[in-house]
């Protein structure tokens, strides 16, 4: 029997990896991929608690997370295409139109 804390630990490591990726990568597409890693970590957490507490709610919310991730990927990639068309760059440091 695998303890619940093992799943939570895997989820924590994945979440930290994704957060670090959002902070340190300069390519906007990789930043979005890191957000996907973080969403997956949250999903593992929800499904693990759903299994160990014998309740269905966690899996339902995990399904909603997957749907939200699909919408987020579509909108994020559309924004990348718009920005790339104007500036020929996906570097997050050069996207500062809304900064001030």
């Amino acid at each position: 029997m695998i303890p619940l804390s093992a799943y939570v630990a895997v989820s924590a490591v994945l979440f930290a990896t994704g957060l670090l990726g959002v902070l340190i990568r300069r390519n906007f597409i990789i930043v979005l991929m890191s957000v996907e890693i973080m969403l997956n970590a949250a999903t593992i957490n929800l499904v693990a608690f759903s299994h160990y507490l014998e309740a269905m709610q966690g899996q339902i919310v995990a399904l909603f997370i997957i749907a939200i991730a699909a919408g987020e990927a579509a909108i994020g990639l559309a924004i990348i295409i718009v920005v790339f068309r104007g500036k020929i760059s996906t570097n997050v440091d050069e996207m500062n139109l809304l900064k001030w």
Binding site: A16, N27, A73
Partner: protein
């Protein structure tokens, strides 16, 4: 035996996650993300969530990742020499220390709680998809409809954003 499978899925998904963040070529990052998603779906099978396993493989690995790879191929990016942010070394040590403390706290905590009514035996009676369907279309019907509206809005927004804008001259004539 279950522990061997858990260790395999956990280790490979963590390594794939680190590779997704650390690799240089964006296409290789996308393939590492594919490995991560498939092994996370393996973890779902370990947790008796077969329906989520199928959804993860079809929607995440099948649709979302293909979308990412499509855009990567479409943009035809050149890989930069400096692909990390300039302040990356200063973030690495706090992240590792914070993660170590978090893991220390997680492993010590008991995680008790009141049990629900969906025990593994009750789920195995009709299958995981049946159990999710009953719950989704009774207690969570409103949220399900909201997700439908959200996805429609997201698709319309993506199309509007990515459409080629008309040049100003033709717009003035119209």
């Amino acid at each position: 035996m279950a522990f061997v499978f858990f260790a395999y899925f956990a280790v490979v998904s963590i390594v794939a996650g680190i590779l997704t963040v650390a690799l240089k070529n964006p296409v290789q990052c996308g393939l590492a993300l594919l490995a991560l998603l498939l092994h996370v779906s393996g973890l779902f099978v370990m947790l008796n969530a077969e329906f989520l396993w199928a959804v993860q493989v079809i929607v995440y690995a099948g649709a979302i990742l293909v979308l990412y790879l499509f855009v990567l191929m479409l943009l035809n990016l050149k890989t930069d020499d400096r692909y990390f942010h300039a302040k990356a070394p200063y973030l690495l040590a706090p992240a590792v220390i914070g993660l170590a403390y978090l893991l220390f706290l997680l492993v010590r905590s008991p995680f008790g709680g009141s049990r629900g009514d969906a025990s593994p035996a009750a789920i195995l009676l009709n299958g995981d998809a049946h159990a999710i369907g009953i719950k989704m279309f009774s207690d969570y019907l409103l949220q399900f409809e909201i997700i439908g509206v959200f996805l429609t809005g997201a698709i319309v927004g993506a199309i509007v954003l990515a459409k080629t804008p008309k040049s100003i001259e033709t717009r003035r004539d119209a």
